[in-house]
């Protein structure tokens, strides 16, 4: 294929190649009868489809949002109120005072940042060794690393739970973070990136006498910035949303991250008092959605990079 595969963006700016290609096609055939080309009916159906999709995603989110601003009595009425009348911040107040909400946020920040930093550093170092250093058994080591992707978490939790409990690490941050810190996917992603760097530049830097760590820091990483950002972003999102392991490890607000804290809240209030529960889910969704809003392009690059290649 002569044109580079355009991978990983929701944005039109970078998709000029396929667009111009398609335009060529339109020019070539637009004048013909164009029976199966996009007629007005298809255009209308297309827009109808888009509206439908937006509604399917947005209406539940809107529902959750308005509920979080309703007074308790207004949540339990039929037919439902589609606008909080009167609107109240009471649920948020209750969430942040009656429940150790900010403790959960703090724990989430600690767990997410520590795990992410560990994964990013380990992923980059492993990928560097597996791509630009030569040593015997490199292929085998690489297989050992990526085969870990095939092992589901659920098969490891029982034994890991026992090990961590034996170390006395239950309900501690290290007990949550360390077992999550090994990195397979990121190693795979960064190794691909490093292997695709132009060999001449690497060789030139080596001939200039750059040591291996300097090579990594000054040459390899600066050229790999977009992939590294993508890797970092999907790692942060994944760790922020991590559920099963912290759920098994944490007993209370000393270590429980936000998703687990929400489960505690739901256990206590749940069906009987939806207001604060919905306020909690709104606040849990918000930071990651804001991050997504600004950095979606990089995030998607990380997801699609491994997928579309072969």
């Amino acid at each position: 294929m002569s044109t580079p595969a355009i991978v990983g963006t929701l944005d039109d700016e970078t998709t000029t190649t396929p667009r111009s290609r398609r335009r060529r096609r339109d020019d070539a055939h637009g004048a013909e009868a164009g029976t199966h080309h996009r007629g007005p009916v298809w255009t209308v159906l297309g827009y109808a489809g888009m509206v439908l999709v937006v509604l399917l995603v947005a209406v539940p989110l809107f529902w959750i949002l308005i509920t979080s601003f309703k007074e308790r009595g207004d949540i339990y009425v039929r037919p439902a109120q589609w606008w909080p009348e009167p609107a109240t911040g009471e649920n948020y107040h209750e969430l942040t005072t009656r429940i150790p909400f900010f403790d959960y946020v703090r724990n989430s920040v600690i767990i997410t940042s520590a795990t992410s930093v560990a994964k990013i550093v380990l992923g980059v170092l492993s990928a560097y060794a597996l791509s630009l250093l030569r040593f015997p058994g490199r292929g085998v080591v690489f297989l050992v690393v990526i085969a870990a992707l095939m092992v589901p978490n659920q098969i490891t939790v029982i034994s890991n739970y026992a090990l961590v409990a034996q170390l006395g690490w239950r309900n501690t941050f290290q007990g949550i973070i360390i077992p999550l810190a090994g990195v397979a996917f990121g190693t795979f992603l960064m190794r691909n990136q490093f292997l695709n760097l132009p060999g001449e530049i690497i060789e030139a830097a080596r001939l200039d006498g750059a040591g291996p760590m300097k090579l990594l820091w000054r040459v390899v990483l600066p050229m790999s910035w977009p992939t590294l950002v993508a890797f970092a972003l999907i790692t942060v999102v994944n760790e922020w949303n991590e559920y099963l392991w912290p759920f098994l490890m944490s007993d209370d607000e000393t270590t429980a991250p936000l998703p687990v804290g929400l489960t505690f809240l739901q256990n206590n209030d749940g069906v009987t008092n939806w207001g604060p529960v919905m306020a909690g889910t709104v606040l849990a969704m918000l930071p990651i959605l804001v991050l997504f809003l600004f950095l979606q392009r990089q995030m998607i690059k990380g997801l699609t990079a491994g997928a579309v290649k072969s």
């Binding site: 888009m50 949540i75 060794a129 098969i155 077992p179």
Partner: protein
């Protein structure tokens, strides 16, 4: 959770003794010794973590599946195949396997079909498509637990969104909390809602990288839209479809957060329990870690077998 002081079974745990990927002594090309040492240093922390927390428990889990360990006792007695025999003979096994198959087939099939459909739609030149693309993808980044809790209220049979909408069009809402079939439906819909963005984005990237000239040629030859889709587009998307069928299947089978917050595997004990949820319930709720490990091992073997079949299938398809 329960059992604060958990003492694991007898056997001491090693595993940290990871074989360092250091090669033979630097004899032949002595200049490379530093390179091997450096590689070992860079790789060792990650390898140790993967070996201790992924490969060791994988093997240990298999060993535990032949014991009657209860997760809090120091003793785990070997029981041979008893757990396996029990699993294959128990009534709830059929329910759990059926739930897992229904949930997995529905989520994989529907999210791949809808993802492809949406990717085709939003690959068209339509105004505002960038915004719609973002909207479709957004739920994928939200925590499954938060979405599960939120959607529990969306499906609340008394005061939820779904009930309200159904009532407005004159339909009686099913009881999503109490009726097993509808509870499974609720969990499936919620999972698809959250994860549709993933298949969509991957298919969209594949569409953007496809060869438009093949499609043009087919069009000039007078092929119908359906024929072009079947014979030109789908073969090009085959690697993507293959990749998605494996990754989506693996993540569907492993879903825990949504089921845990929405139904706890219920109603009626195991109305929405999947194999993964059974592992959790038996091990940590019923305190039967040996039996839980058995279910986990069976699940792993099934996943492995399915993946091998998929890879075979893919190979065959590529050759023909």
């Amino acid at each position: 959770m329960q059992s604060p002081e958990t003492v694991p079974p007898d056997e001491p745990r090693h595993g940290a003794g990871a074989p360092a990927p250091v090669g033979p002594p630097p004899r032949r090309s002595s200049g490379r010794a530093w390179e091997w040492t450096l590689a070992a240093l860079l790789l060792l922390p990650n390898l140790v973590l993967l070996i201790v927390f992924t490969y060791r428990p994988l093997l240990d889990n298999i060993r535990l599946s032949f014991t009657d360990w209860n997760i809090s006792s120091p003793i785990a007695n070997p029981v041979g195949l008893a757990n396996y025999i029990e699993w294959f003979g128990r009534d709830d096994t059929r329910v759990v396997v059926r739930n897992t198959v229904v949930f997995t087939v529905a989520t994989v099939g529907i999210s791949m079909a809808l993802g492809l459909g949406l990717a085709l739609l939003l690959d068209q030149r339509l105004r505002g498509r960038n915004l719609v693309r973002s909207v479709v993808f957004a739920p994928f980044v939200i925590s499954g637990a938060a979405i599960g809790i939120a959607f529990q209220f969306v499906f609340d049979p008394q005061f939820g969104l779904v009930r309200d909408l159904l009532t407005r069009v004159g339909v009686t809402s099913p009881d999503f909390y109490q009726q097993s079939g509808w509870a499974l439906f609720m969990v499936t819909v919620t999972y698809i809602w959250k994860n549709l963005g993933y298949t969509f984005v991957i298919y969209l990237a594949a569409l953007q990288g496809r060869r438009a000239d093949l499609d043009e040629a087919a069009e000039i030859d007078g092929a119908s839209a359906w024929a072009r889709f079947r014979r030109v587009l789908m073969p090009q998307l085959r690697p993507t479809t293959f990749f998605l069928s494996i990754t989506v299947l693996l993540s569907s089978v492993q879903v825990f957060d949504i089921i845990n917050v929405m139904t706890r595997g219920g109603p009626a004990g195991n109305g929405t329990a999947t194999l993964v949820y059974q592992v959790y319930q038996e091990t940590f709720v019923n305190q039967r870690a040996g039996y839980g490990a058995t279910v986990a091992t069976i699940m792993f073997v099934i996943l492995l077998a399915v993946t091998v079949v998929q890879v075979r299938f893919m190979d065959k398809g590529q050759r023909s």
